[in-house]
Subunit: 209 residues, 2 copies
């Protein structure tokens, strides 16, 4: 199964790399990182560069399309070339998926209209503006469209998707391979749970830059 | 604080990228991905390329040294140039850390002798061969040395480390930013918990390639 992961300037690396580390273990997996042009693509923090092995023009189908989010995703919602490519690939996929604000790109491409979907907690209104029915779950499977909440949720999404594709035992094996037995030291991982002090800290961090 | 992440052929991308996405939010964070030579470095699956922005020779100190693991880590335990560099940087750090089999590189460099440490479940005996006292925890803080278990545990480690460096509120804010509210669909993330069928599947996967 060919797994295609589009990269664009300003993507969030963990959105792509978390699910990549799970889905690459699927039987007969072939992974393609693609971008407008093949070559280096810089992440949203401007600190990490991944290489796209193929240009969008060179990729015309996928078993799984996995669209990451990031600060760049919000900018690229008006990138007609990217949106056209996403629509074209989506027409060929078994599964079309997103992590974090990658859902905004699916939405802007018109692929979430009337569907239940999720996204990063900061992007709910924008997701709804594309006609999606925001669903406050970490992973939302609606038909062959699978959306995940913010950043780290891509790992949970990939395990759920792996089970749908290759069965529960395979997914459990992949979970063991990456030793995914999460034990966060705090319980601040969602907007509902995070203390106000953490929200205030994050707001000041984002204002600084 | 300068965060230095060494890359080598065969590293596991999530080992590096998980904690990167947390630690890069630390106040005054500066992140350097380094390798024997600056430029592209291919991961253990041979499918993903990250760019090292600096050569080891160009990096002579770090606030945090974060050593990822991966299939390549096991090969590099006899890479004296890498081990010498790790020892040199360790002498300058506030925190020396590893994810997954990155601990084997710290061990081979002689930095874990007599210390409590953890690693991927598949590398326990080799870790102990370097004089470390294997401790079956997800994150082990011993003085200024912090080791994490397999792959995905680097996220938990980074949050714990962020709290030690910048306080609990900062760490909670970082957890919210990456929406780390893990909900794995199965409970197969440790050797103790995984069903035998998953272990058998993983064994056959590794034998295939």
């Amino acid at each position: 199964m060919r797994i295609v992961i589009p990269l664009f300037d300003g993507f969030t690396a963990l959105d792509a790399v978390g699910p990549y580390e799970v889905l690459r273990m699927l039987p007969q997996a072939e992974v393609v990182f693609a971008a407008a042009e093949a070559g280096p693509v810089v992440d949203g923090a401007g600190l990490l560069t991944l290489t796209a092995g193929a240009a969008f023009d060179e990729v015309d189908s996928a078993g799984i399309l996995l669209v990451p989010g990031g600060p760049g995703a919000r900018r690229h919602v008006t990138d007609e070339a990217l949106l056209t490519w996403i629509r074209r690939i989506d027409a060929t996929t078994d599964w079309t998926t997103s992590v974090c604000t990658g859902s905004l790109l699916l939405g802007a491409a018109g692929l979430l209209e009337g569907l239940k979907a999720t996204t990063h907690w900061s992007a709910v209104e924008q997701l709804e503006s594309y006609g999606a029915a925001y669903t406050a779950e970490r992973v939302v499977v609606q038909g062959t469209t699978v959306t995940a909440a913010g950043v780290s949720s891509g790992i949970d999404m990939a395990l759920a998707l792996a089970a749908l594709i290759a069965g529960r035992t395979a997914a459990e094996a992949f979970q063991l391979a990456i030793e995914y037995d999460p034990q966060p030291p705090f319980d601040s991982g969602s907007w509902a749970k995070a203390p106000q002090t953490a929200k205030d800290y994050l707001t000041s961090l984002r204002q600084r830059g």
